[in-house]
Subunit: 565 residues, 2 copies
């Protein structure tokens, strides 16, 4: 290709700079320009909650590469303080506004890259969103404004609207700064886009344990201010909540106006449509980062995936393709991970909720276990929920959470999903084993084997949600806890259906169990509970099952008081 | 199948108990017997070095399940203190010796499982191996004997013979107990079966930094004792080393006598031959755990893989197949991980050494990077060495080490290898990203992309081994360090060929570089060094390259003094 190719990139945050750097390394003589509205480029915006919370001391740590670096090292023309206002596709020119001087110029391009990112979603109907003390958080400037507000106005009470990734990270940040924090979420659970209800309940519990006031199933209708126009409270369907500072974290809307006005295709998700080469419907215009829609690798469905990790992959592929290469992007798995105080929480692929909504016949497992060898000091529990196709055993998704190591299991599952692997594949993975790093059987091995045992009919389980419902409805069944007496005393489910019968006494005392009542076994991680189920099977009990994940995965507190003790 | 099937299992450590438990859960009425020489079953033997080192306080922590549990809960007949002495395959009986009473009996079986494990390899020629104070470490009894010796004899100086996994873990254990420790290894590097030389050098450096005396390339010829028959020194080709306690950790030899005497096939590796069902050449006799040979999933070669993780997988499959099921084991990847003091070290698949020995044309990369977002507090560096097929880009192996998170990258690579994935697959993995857990680009993404850049000819690198050789041979070239002045002052390679020229000054000062001398660039992680190579390419320099892994992966100390200044 012509080494003098003019490559113009709109957007200097993640995908844009990555595209520019990649293009430069492939085409030393290309003329590469980046149009950026703000005064910085290449912000590490995913770190913003940790800057607000004080774990990251200076915003300079979040400036990964300065414009100077791009100019001096890369010979990339970074035009800060400029805005792309229109594309003339037939003339192949970009109209660029110099914001300071308010002058417009036409910039010719051979290849144009739209990396305009996304803007925080704020419902237009939300009254009071312009009050002082109301913020969003996607740029360093937002974070500095919040820190300035904390410095100047010493807010005592924060409201975070939206219990998604940034919402929960920000709730923790405000708490770190000593504020009282309320999280308000319209849906029935935290991280609703990521987690099934019984998994989300663990994240909610962690927030509550750390002193966060979590309000679910209510929408903020309006924000009200004081005489100075400073926010002082939020009103939801369920009442008023006082606040001195409000963070709106309701997701992000792709910035597609430039593309739409130029007649480029926009998908139903609201993101710019691109093919696997990250090319729009104009072959000379590429797009990547938060402004495009992605393809889900499992379902083929279009989805938004505003993640720095994805933007970087887009940038590398676009940088290749605008310099004569030909690389493709296979799509995303919706992988996400978040630290919720001391709890690590992650999702990859489809949740049970997603899969059922898509009409897929699935088998799931909830497998708790130690992060590494149980006898090695400090081992914490984690829990894996695995979702698989009921017919083929193909793994469709996973949710992993716990105070121990969660990212490894998530990334292994992401890799399995990328290759269309099955539970048998997972069970046979030769994962790295040594006591400080893992048990001889990884939690993923166990999660896969539980599903295999269910698929062959040996294992039968009931979800903690269903067990909880049956308890609350006062149904007659036995929740047979087969742990030891000391374990029971340490913590147990305080329901009238619950009964302790340690596994090593089960065979002798089996005649004490009611013959015509459903028996649901449980223990700490379901290993003993499954064993108990098999013993009951062998003794001819009718359809015994175990509670998936047992007490480790039980997300509820005391559900009802014992009727007699 | 007949629910009264008699299943007899020889060996009660890992594969044996797993087989028994799995068989019981599938076949409630099968008659299951475990023959075990020792007085315990199901030892967590991988934890022994941590018990010797004191991190694990009591040996009871390493007894995962007692015989009582198997008997009472599982209705499995555990015969401790018995030894299987012969198999009569035509009669389908096992001859069993009761060690205490010295009586022999014949035990009929329908399915026999040989899980006899392995025994520490000790060369017959090694004189003095029977002296007091000389140990091996594969059982709790061994660990207790060592602890007893430390209690009674207060040894000051320990020698560990063999720098493999258990050797290095044990060296750390002795150091934790306050002993002076020497590790003696016959080959030229530590962990020689796992790591390439330039990666092994980092593990060696960590041992030396922590005060271990590491003696490579020398074989222990004899151990000598004092008048009481207690070991006091070791003699190698290179001299004498004093010691009060000696641990022999020279690998393990599969226990195959029972199988061999029964006419079962033994492989060239010395392990019992089994098919993918874990079945020996007698269809009623299965075998698993440390006594069998495994198949390498990539090469198809037979190999020994004495790992608790593998033994457990074997056990589950055998437990299935002896109760009428039909499951197969796909083999292993040689995955291994070890904590070497503060350094985490892992290998999966083929090393460069392995691949070259097998005649495979390969491309490798050495990619250092932060374990998670560089700006998130506490981030440590790790280094990934990736080995791929030069033609297809198929990933063949990885070595990962560093003071940061290593197990995750290893397990992701193990998963990629299981599916025959390529560097493009790795580069597109949707791994979990959030600053406390990862950077926007994982080190694996970078390692894969370096290889892709090499395959397209954009990137050219030289291994640190070769650079070091050229330095030591006094060759004329420029080792161009393109980091900043403060980074240089912090640490740099002190060789006459090395020159500082920060990347942001490279374009201006490029004319100061000698035009006809080979230029090898370097920085912290090779990202800037690659950029510098591309700038030099663009300016017409002849075949510039960067040093793979740059200073982070540089395993050597000062190599020679500067000739001037």
């Amino acid at each position: 290709m012509d080494t003098q190719t003019r490559i113009v990139i709109v957007g200097g945050m993640a995908c844009g700079p990555k595209t520019a750097a990649r293009a430069r390394r492939r085409a030393p003589r290309a003329r590469i320009t980046v149009i950026e509205q703000g005064e910085t480029v290449s912000e590490g915006s995913c770190g913003l909650p940790y800057y607000v919370g004080g774990q990251i001391i200076s915003d300079t740590a979040l400036l990964i590469r300065g414009a100077k670096y791009f100019r001096e090292v890369m010979e990339i023309d970074i035009l800060n303080g400029t805005r792309a206002t229109a594309i003339d596709r037939s003339a192949r020119t970009l109209e660029v506004l110099d914001i300071k001087t308010n002058t417009t110029s036409q910039m010719p391009y051979d290849k144009l890259v739209i990396a305009t990112g996304a803007t925080p979603s704020v419902p237009r109907a939300l009254k009071g969103q312009d009050l002082k003390g109301v913020f969003t958080l996607t740029k360093i400037a937002d974070a500095n404004a919040i820190l300035q507000e904390m410095e100047n106005a010493s807010p005592k009470r924060a409201i975070v609207v939206g219990a998604g990734l940034i919402g929960l990270e920000s709730a923790e940040a405000f708490k770190e700064r000593g504020l009282e924090v309320t999280v308000i979420e319209a849906l029935d659970r935290v991280l609703p886009a990521l987690l099934d209800p019984e998994m989300a309940a663990h994240a909610e519990k962690e927030l509550v344990d750390k002193g966060i006031d979590v309000r679910l199933g209510q929408r903020v209708l309006s924000l009200e201010g004081d005489a100075d126009g400073h926010v002082r409270r939020a009103t939801t369907e369920k009442g008023e909540i006082e606040a001195d500072i409000v963070l709106l974290s309701l997701g992000a809307r792709p910035n597609v106006e430039l593309a739409r006005n130029a007649g480029l295709a926009i998908g139903t998700t609201g993101g710019i449509t691109v093919n696997e080469y990250m090319q729009t419907n104009d072959p000379d215009i590429y797009s990547g980062g938060d402004c495009v829609e992605n393809t889900h690798r499992l379902t083929g469905a279009k989805m938004l995936a505003p993640m720095g990790s994805t933007a970087n992959k887009h940038g590398r592929i676009i940088g290749t393709n605008v310099t004569g290469g030909s690389e493709t992007f296979p799509g995303v798995l919706g992988t996400a991970i978040v630290k919720v105080f001391d709890l690590n929480v992650a999702r990859v692929g489809l949740s049970e909720t997603d899969a059922r909504a898509a009409g897929i016949d699935i088998v799931t497992s909830i497998a708790p276990g130690f992060e590494y060898a149980s006898y090695y000091p400090g081992a914490q529990m984690i829990t894996v929920k695995m979702v698989t196709d009921a017919t083929t055993g193909k793994v469709l998704g996973g949710q992993v959470l716990g105070k121990g190591e969660v990212a490894k299991r998530t990334d292994v599952l992401a890799t399995v999903l990328s290759f269309g692997g099955t539970v048998e594949d997972v069970a046979n993975l030769d994962l790295a084993y040594s006591p400080p790093f893992n048990g001889a059987m990884d939690v993923l091995h166990n999660a896969a084997n539980v599903i295999r045992n269910k698929m062959t009919g040996h294992a039968r389980a009931m979800s903690p949600i269903e067990v909880n419902e049956r308890i609350c409805e006062g149904e007659e069944f036995v929740l047979l806890d087969v742990r030891s007496q000391p374990e029971w005393e340490d913590a147990h489910i305080d329901a009238c259906q619950c009964r302790l019968l340690p596994l090593n006494q089960l065979r002798q005392e089996i005649s004490s169990l009611p013959p015509n009542t459903r028996i649901i076994t449980m223990c700490r991680t379901s290993i003993r509970a499954y064993q108990a189920q098999r013993i009951l099977d062998g003794e001819g009990f009718d359809n015994p099952c175990f509670m998936d994940g047992s007490i480790t995965a039980w997300p509820y507190a005391v559900v009802c008081r014992k009727q007699s003790s």
